[in-house]
């Protein structure tokens, strides 16, 4: 590698080859670069006239993983949003305004996600940014949207502190434009704890295995704190923390098989969960395979990759949304039919954010009698009270911008009602928000400590 070493002299042929390669690359790689939307007139100032001003277009930007190990969680988010928007537009839009979706892929590093968020806010001038699994990505994007007076409806990342200006200091309050519409990590962990207590009270030994990142550690901390309160006599084994997206679980499986716990709680998700279970099944440890151990985890990732759930009789922590609601059930059935797979959590999450936004716009419109400004929508969102969705009503908690849900969770049973969805919970427990979500500005562990 020498400068000007004379070993390579470009010829005209080479130059032509370069042009050819460049053209081929340009054709392959670049579709028409997205032209920035025609600058809309700045949010219309409120008019005193009762007749509605012509509604502007509403834009929702979604950032979520469309490739890679998290794609099973991201792709359904994109697809569901498209579907919901299509339905709503066919019915006349939101308060008369048509909705448009801008899709962005989520990069592996938070800075790439931030750059996409900036593009959505500044170039595409979206009204809403949503999606974004991964607490570190979500935390990075929050200030970006807030600076640009754009709604950030967190629905795929589960940190209960996602809306806080400083995740370490709740006294600083929340961002004006950031809302969290789905349930939190605390909810998952606490659901799991209640399931053990209510549905498997004879459990003596509990093992845990979580991915070694924020969500995994949080699950361990919250679950352990909750179990210590609910079942003080249970023995908790040391947790296992495999690297995320590294699904060779053979060493971890050995540990578990040797320990033979009564109950395993895991927050592994995506292919990590399915690979883990596949590797566990041959050892005949789990109930339904020849053993007696109950495994609680995200069994819905099997249908997400188009496979049937291999073993029933095990519980799963859920996101908001009960399939007893027909409208919600129809969306799930539609998705499975169209795509051949179904990841229920992502679908439920996007429903929560889309309908929160819809409710806020409609409320502001009703109050004003004309199409509202973004600020008016924001005030309406904060003061929504109840959020109406295909799976019932959520409650908007004004102080920390979180929507709270009543959650159903339980043991997965085979489909006996003919829905084609194996998510009937037999037995199941229902938890009110106050039972599975911490109060405003409290992290999970602090809240559980006060039980």
């Amino acid at each position: 590698m020498k400068i000007g070493d004379g070993m390579y002299k470009p010829t005209r042929r080479d130059f032509l080859k370069l042009l050819g390669a460049g053209a081929a690359w340009a054709l392959l790689g670049c579709a028409q670069p997205q032209k920035p939307a025609a600058t809309p007139t700045p949010t219309p100032t409120p008019t005193p006239k009762p007749t509605p001003t012509p509604p502007k277009e509403l834009k929702i930007g979604i950032i979520s993983f469309r490739a890679g190990p998290a794609a099973a969680f991201g792709v359904p988010a994109h697809n569901t949003l498209d579907y919901l928007v299509e339905q709503v537009n066919a019915a006349g839009g939101i308060a008369g305004a048509k909705v448009k979706v801008v899709h962005e892929d989520q990069g592996l590093s938070p800075s790439d996600t931030v750059e996409k968020a900036k593009k959505l806010c500044l170039q595409d001038k979206v009204d809403v940014v949503t999606g974004i699994p991964g607490t570190n990505h979500t935390l990075a994007v929050a200030p970006v949207c807030d600076e640009n007076n754009t709604f950030f409806l967190q629905c795929q990342a589960r940190a209960e502190y996602g809306t806080w200006k400083d995740p370490e200091d709740p006294s600083k309050g929340v961002f004006d434009w950031v809302f969290h519409t789905a349930n939190s990590t605390t909810s998952h962990a606490v659901q799991a704890a209640y399931i053990v207590k209510e549905l498997f009270p004879e459990t003596k030994v509990i093992a845990q295995i979580h991915q070694d990142y924020a969500y995994g550690y949080d699950n361990y901390n919250y679950f352990t704190a909750a179990i210590k309160k609910l079942m003080p006599d249970a023995e908790l084994l040391d947790p296992l923390y495999p690297k995320i997206f590294s699904p060779d679980y053979t060493p971890y499986v050995s540990e578990l098989v040797e320990a033979k716990p009564d109950f395993i709680f895991t927050s592994l998700w995506g292919t990590d969960f399915t690979r883990f279970v596949d590797q566990l099944i041959p050892y005949k440890l789990l109930k339904g395979t020849g053993g007696n151990t109950i495994l609680e985890g995200y069994w819905d990732f099997y249908p997400a990759i188009g496979r049937d759930i291999p073993v029933f009789g095990h519980p799963q922590p859920f996101n908001q949304g009960s399939i007893e609601y027909e409208e919600y059930r129809n969306i799930l059935i539609w998705y499975k039919k169209k795509y051949g797979n179904l990841e229920i959590a992502a679908v439920a999450d996007i429903i929560s954010s889309f309908y929160t936004f819809k409710a806020a716009v409609e409320k502001a419109y009703d109050e004003k009698g004309a199409f509202p400004t973004r600020d008016e929508i924001r005030d309406a969102m904060e003061n929504l009270g109840k959020v109406s969705t295909p799976y019932g009503e959520g409650i908007m908690r004004k102080e920390d911008h979180r929507v709270l849900w009543t959650i159903e969770c339980g043991v997965l049973a085979e489909d006996t009602k003919g829905y084609g969805l194996p998510y009937l919970y037999k037995p199941k427990i229902t938890l009110e928000p106050s039972k599975h979500e911490p109060p405003a500005f409290m992290k999970g562990t602090d809240w559980i400590a006060k039980w």
Binding site: I3, C30, K116, N136, A214
Partner: protein, 313 residues
């Protein structure tokens, strides 16, 4: 002929400087991208000190970029210090220290072994940053919630952009002076023929170590400015081998035989990535074909080709 070359280059430089200063007129998104391009430009320049001038390919340069970023981040997180006039010097000092330490290990080796070693060490620190949650925030990283300079709080991305511009030019001039000095010429002599240099009495290791340190130092500056610009740092962002690879790609794209090649590469790469990854689903394919094409057809990169033609023509 040399003057002619110089004049041609001036034609490029002056408009470039002007454009940099008026970029904010193009909107916040373009400003943001340009700021990124400048910061990565400093990092790529620093990489080229090792690659183009010393003949060593570092595939772990994110280590120093991350060192600068985390130095700033740790001060913010644990001591609530947000003043640029403290954060930047501390990042510089820590980058120098780390560069000397790592350099002592690395410069004993050349060629492929050097490259492997840089990968190994940067991965080690990546793993540590990931695991030491209480200190580094783990994969959540550290949020830098505000930046101050001499008491005044930086109000906007655009304002910080100008600080980046200033830092960029200072780094640029420093590196220019260093690489044009007798030191820089000796470095190139070592690169071209180690044997001859040794016969001339040059201490190869000291020169390589010095180059390594300079390289790490400026990468650290870039990292610190990046951290403050973005407001959120995490291992996948500033310490990953993918980030190191991007620096290499930028240097390759713009041309490692030219002083300003890495800067050109950084701008091209940053803008192209932003445009293509939004417009098309297959950014990686485009990126890969770009790298492969350059390696086969245009190994000295864009500036390398341009400078060759200017010299010939």
């Amino acid at each position: 002929m040399r003057d002619e070359l110089k004049n041609r280059k001036l034609f490029l430089y002056i408009p470039f400087v002007i454009v940099l200063f008026i970029i904010p007129l193009g909107g916040e998104y373009v400003t943001y991208l340009t700021g990124l391009a400048l910061v990565f430009g400093i990092a790529a320049l620093s990489l080229n000190v090792l690659l183009g001038y010393t003949g060593l390919l570092s595939f772990g340069h994110a280590l120093f970029f991350g060192c600068g970023a985390y130095s700033a981040g740790l001060l913010v997180k644990h001591f609530n210090i947000t003043s640029l006039e403290i954060l930047l010097p501390v990042s510089i000092v820590s980058s120098i220290a780390l560069a000397v330490l790592v350099g002592l290990i690395c410069v004993r080796h050349t060629r492929i072994y050097f490259t492997m070693l840089t990968i190994a060490i940067s991965q080690l620190f990546y793993a540590l940053a990931h695991k030491l949650r209480p200190i580094t925030g783990g994969d959540d990283g550290i949020r830098i919630y505000s930046v101050h300079i001499f008491g005044h709080e930086v109000g906007s991305i655009t304002e910080f952009y100008y600080y980046i511009v200033v830092t960029f030019f200072i780094s640029l001039f420093c590196l220019r002076i260093i690489l044009r000095s007798p030191f820089g010429l000796t470095l190139q002599a070592i690169r071209d023929s180690e044997l001859r240099a040794r016969f001339a009495g040059v201490s190869i290791m000291s020169y390589r170590l010095a180059a390594f340190t300079i390289s790490g130092l400026f990468a650290g500056i870039a990292g610190a400015m990046y951290a403050l610009y973005l407001g959120q740092i995490s291992p996948d962002d500033v310490l990953s081998v993918l980030r190191s690879g991007e620096f290499v790609a930028m240097t390759l794209l713009g041309g490692y035989t030219s002083f300003i090649g890495p800067i050109v590469g950084s701008f091209l790469f940053t803008y192209l990535k932003a445009i293509i990854s939004s417009a098309a689903l297959y950014w990686y394919l485009a990126f890969g074909i770009l790298i492969v094409s350059i390696v086969i057809f245009v190994p000295t990169g864009l500036m390398g080709e341009i400078e060759k033609r200017w010299r010939i023509g």
